[in-house]
Amino acid sequence: MRAADVLPVGTPRVALRAEKVWKSYDSGAIRVLNGVDFAAVAGQTLALCGPSGCGKSTLLHLLGGLDEPDRGTIAVNGVELGRYRSRLALLRHEVGFVFQLHNLIPDLTLEENCLIPTVAAGTDRRAARERLRQLTSLTGLEHRLGHKIQKLSGGERQRTALCRALMHRPKILLADEPTGSLDEQTSGTVFQLLLDLTADEGLTLVMATHDRALAGRCDRLVEMRDGRIHEPDGR
């Protein structure tokens, strides 16, 4: 642990930290993040807003260990991410992802899709099924367990994706436009569920969204422009 992470009693713990993070694609031709400094406090819900291409998704991917920065450091719960092993451990234990497209495997059932993270992590089967029962009960999907993904509605698919993201009891939930493909009513329902589950489980939520109304319901709103962070409301 570094000196900067040793905080006085009562100081909120930083769950996610990005320091001077740069990222570009096509051998530097497309610069996406230009020295981003960012921190998310544990238990906080945080909305990343900004126009398309401003780097929201890229930042989420870096924070979740799906990609590596060109320069700069990412730390999760005070531990700096290294290369393959620590990023794999992060995905298995610390972080859950929800995407705009549900990214479920269509030939598997809801139950099987949700069990995937537990298969990867080698979780005990009984414990995994207990967790699945708990999450599907909370999301109202318990009657859909044996159904294939094609048989589910858009809202159900996104709720399934939410269940899967939480199966391995992550401490951080990263959501990339989680309601972006849903109609307004379903979007509101799924987002409320997301907030409720985040609160129940004491998670840190970082969500990339275009939807200002949804972003306004988060603890904190962070604006991104041209690969940099701006905090408009100072919350």
Partner: protein, 375 residues
């Protein structure tokens, strides 16, 4: 162990089910390769076994000319054969001359020049004629049952064999395809016919006591340095013609499997390309490189093992059917050795795994972030 997780198994099987025709073609590729390997190896091993059977008829040691690549070129002097037969440790020693003859419509007929005391004559079932009449006259021959059939010869007939005309004094039945399709001549007559007066191809020896085999071999080496004595098993293992035949069988079968393996490789490459997004989803959910690779190898193993199973059944049915083809009667020994089955399965699995190496390596390199954008 992730391979035992039902969801993981389903991930493997689901992909095979998604592309049924492709999976069936891959399984068929392996199956036909395994069937071909099983058939070729079994038939050739059967042929080798039959030839060994000819040599080991009521004997356990074979004496032949040292350093010849083919027994048809071996020459054992009659003096040596007689000398060996006179040794106290020898119960009997039978000189045999091999030759290839031809007749109208039959370019290759195996000819055995033997003495009347030879076990091939004594122990065969004579379905016409009598073993006591064998070798009374130089022009007398006995025919194997199948040879009599394809030469359309009966007892007492004159048949044209090569440049000579012979009198059929017997028709005999053996369990060996080569003998059944062969011509038995008196040794003297065969020596003259093949211009090998005073020699035989081999001498097959039965010892009074099997334990004296080593002493017998040493005596042959000492008294007849130009000859070599080998026990039957030893001969089957070392005879270069057998080795060539066996190697050819495995090589042909191996080539078949290689083709089957290329089919699996193609299937697995397509499999990885069509599930790039799925692999990315698994990565996001914590699948390691090893787990991704295990999924790809698991898929190829299922194809290979299923193909091997189907191939073994096809091969066994084919071998069984071969036994009933009249022209092959006695030539095909359809006994499938467990070792051949084991090797065929192992090679199929190895081929499948080898075919999945590159696709698995590709799958491990898939980056989730880029692949999730893949449609």
């Amino acid at each position: 162990m992730i391979l035992l997780k039902p969801v993981f198994v389903k991930l493997i099987l689901t992909n095979l089910g998604r592309h049924r025709i492709r999976s069936v073609i891959s399984v068929a590729g392996i199956a036909f390769s395994v069937a071909a390997m099983l058939t070729i190896v079994t038939v050739l091993q059967g042929a080798v076994g039959m030839f060994s059977g000819i040599l080991s008829s009521d004997s356990e040691i074979i004496v032949f000319e040292r350093n010849v690549s083919d027994l048809f070129f071996s020459s054992v002097p009659a003096g040596a054969a007689a000398g060996i037969a006179s040794w106290p440790m020898v119960r009997h020693a039978d000189p045999v001359l091999f030759g290839i003859v031809s007749s109208a419509d039959h370019p290759i007929i195996t000819c055995f020049g033997v003495t009347p005391a030879d076990a091939r004559i004594r122990k065969a079932t004579w379905i016409a004629g009598n073993p006591t009449s064998f070798a009374r006259h130089a022009e007398d021959i006995a025919l194997g049952e199948r040879a009599a059939e394809f030469l359309s010869a009966k007892l007492g007939d004159e048949v044209q064999i090569g440049h000579g005309s012979f009198h059929v004094i017997g028709i005999l039945r053996t369990t060996n395809g080569f003998e059944d399709g062969g011509v038995f001549m008196p040794l003297d007559a065969a020596q003259r016919f093949f211009h090998k007066e005073g020699s035989s191809s081999v001498v097959t020896v039965k010892l009074a006591d099997k334990d004296e085999a080593a002493a017998f071999k040493n005596m042959v080496k000492a008294k007849y340095p130009s000859l070599i004595a080998l026990e039957d098993d030893e001969f089957s293992r070392t005879y270069s013609q057998f080795k060539i035949l066996k190697a050819t069988a495995w090589a042909v079968g191996g080539c078949g499997l290689l083709l089957g393996g290329l089919g699996v490789a193609n299937t697995m490459i397509m499999s990885v390309f069509t599930r790039i997004r799925e692999i990315a989803i698994l990565r996001v959910n914590g699948f390691s490189n090893g787990q991704i690779a295990a999924m790809i190898f698991g898929e190829s193993a299922v194809v290979s093992l299923f193909g091997a199973g189907v191939g073994l059944v096809i091969g066994a049915v084919f071998l069984y059917a071969l036994k009933f083809i009249p022209a092959l009667h006695g030539y095909v020994d359809a006994t499938i050795e467990p070792a051949v089955v084991g090797i065929a399965i192992a090679l199929a699995l190895l081929t499948g795994v080898a075919g999945a190496l590159d696709p698995a390596a590709y799958a491990m390199r898939i980056r989730a972030v880029e692949a999730l954008r893949f449609e």
